[in-house]
Symmetry: C2
Subunit: 265 residues, 2 copies
């Protein structure tokens, strides 16, 4: 069994850094969390988490901390990691689309990834227990140690390869970013027709609730699936004034049709 570190260092002060710090601070076995910040931004917010938090601005990395989490933007990970070159303990990053080798290239020997699959906002509470965390590392012993830390946050820890983590991130972009964009498009469309987006909320909630019971393929409804050209044409006629929306409507309608007739025919 691996030992759980009682002092953890986090690099970064963004959404993920904040929620990781908040989640870890709740654990009795964690005595100290050092935040490595570039500026005073979010200082008070982080300090409000717990007395366990130490907020260090532009200080040198502390090599005595037995576990370090780099929670910065994808592009910055490699550069930030260089300051940890020769660090004797474990360093992980939290990105979906970055291979762990970026840490090796920065001169680190024990490295990995700890990728929580969630969309984080600094001003929204997170239920860590429901968030799956995907981990990988350069060897099995390190993987076990990353597992122990991830386990402090969630019961749902899944080992994954770099390439599958990337595939998972693509799935997350489709299911979260693209989906949310459709909500934004619907919002704009309704408001331009003197209707309210909130009318759609019970419908949206039911669409998501269904996913607990059936696959999205089985849950599909609507004119595109039925290939109901009369309704589709009526809708297309209404969208004349908005070429972008009209084209997106057509593309997604074709995509649904294709998806369902691949099965049937």
């Amino acid at each position: 069994m691996s030992e759980v570190p009682n002092r953890i260092q986090i690099v970064g002060t963004g959404n993920i850094a904040f929620h990781v710090a908040s989640g870890l601070a709740k654990q009795q076995t964690v005595h100290a969390i050092r935040i490595n910040a570039r500026s005073e931004t979010h200082h008070d917010l982080f300090m409000s988490i717990s007395p366990k938090i130490e907020f260090c601005i532009n200080e040198k990395p502390d090599f005595t901390y037995p576990f370090t989490i780099i929670a910065v933007s994808d592009d910055a990970i490699g550069k930030v990691a260089e300051a940890w070159s020769g660090y004797p303990h474990l360093i992980v990053h939290t990105a979906g689309s970055v291979p762990i080798d970026v840490l090796k290239k920065a001169g680190i020997n024990n490295f990995g990834a700890l990728y929580p699959l969630q969309t984080f906002s600094i001003n929204r509470k997170i239920n860590w227990k429901k968030i799956p965390i995907f981990i990988n590392s350069n060897n099995e012993e390190n993987l076990n140690n990353i597992y122990s830390v991830a386990r402090l946050l969630s019961p749902n820890i899944i080992p994954i390869t770099d390439s599958n983590r990337l595939a998972l991130h693509i799935g997350a972009v489709i299911a979260n970013n693209f989906t949310n964009h459709l909500f934004a498009i619907a919002d704009k469309w309704l408001v331009s027709n003197d209707l309210k987006f909130e009318y759609l909320l019970p419908l949206i909630r039911e669409t998501v609730d269904k996913l607990e019971e059936m696959s999205p393929l089985d849950a599909q409804t609507g004119p595109a699936k039925r290939n109901d050209r009369r309704v589709i044409n009526k809708h297309m006629g209404q969208l004349e004034g908005d070429q972008d929306l009209k084209e997106l409507y057509l593309r997604l309608t074709e995509s649904i049709f294709k998806f369902h007739h691949e099965r049937g025919y």
Copy 2:
């Protein structure tokens, strides 16, 4: 004040007919619900709702019922309504994209629409109280009567024009059908990469929960909004084997970018 009819006739045995019958049967003031069916399909299911239900197969329309709801597919409404030509009471249809004049053309004098904005499945329970119902009619007295019936199902009744109901239906297609299709695409993608769709469920739920607090425009995250070309290109590279998905990824990424830079620049 309008009188609430205590006997209601429903034409059709689909998802909406079933849930409307179930919702109305719960009301003490409703004593009898006559279902006009074309075949025995769903007979037992409807009869299991309540002893108030009468299931009539291929019978002539009963002109003594003081309120009739046509809950059949869009294309069938006009044809079905012809059998009610000269009906002295109120008939409504439940479609999103059909003008109420289709009932006038069928020879009916008192007509309207009662459009519940929801996706109905026969095997899922519905909380009617949370579903907004949109109504319109050929005159104000009839509108009041439709309001009284709709009010038996939900506290959230909104008068709407034909053209706005059509606009609303387009919004529903975007937010429900298109969104669900993205979930189906993500599902297929994950499974083809030996990953499980259920990993995404907490993320999807959070994306929807956010909508209760902020607009989807404000909730948007991800590489497309940030115009993070490195991540986008990495994702595009992974999608090489699936041209349809790659193209959809690019289209939606461009659409998000455009949406957010219309505001900012």
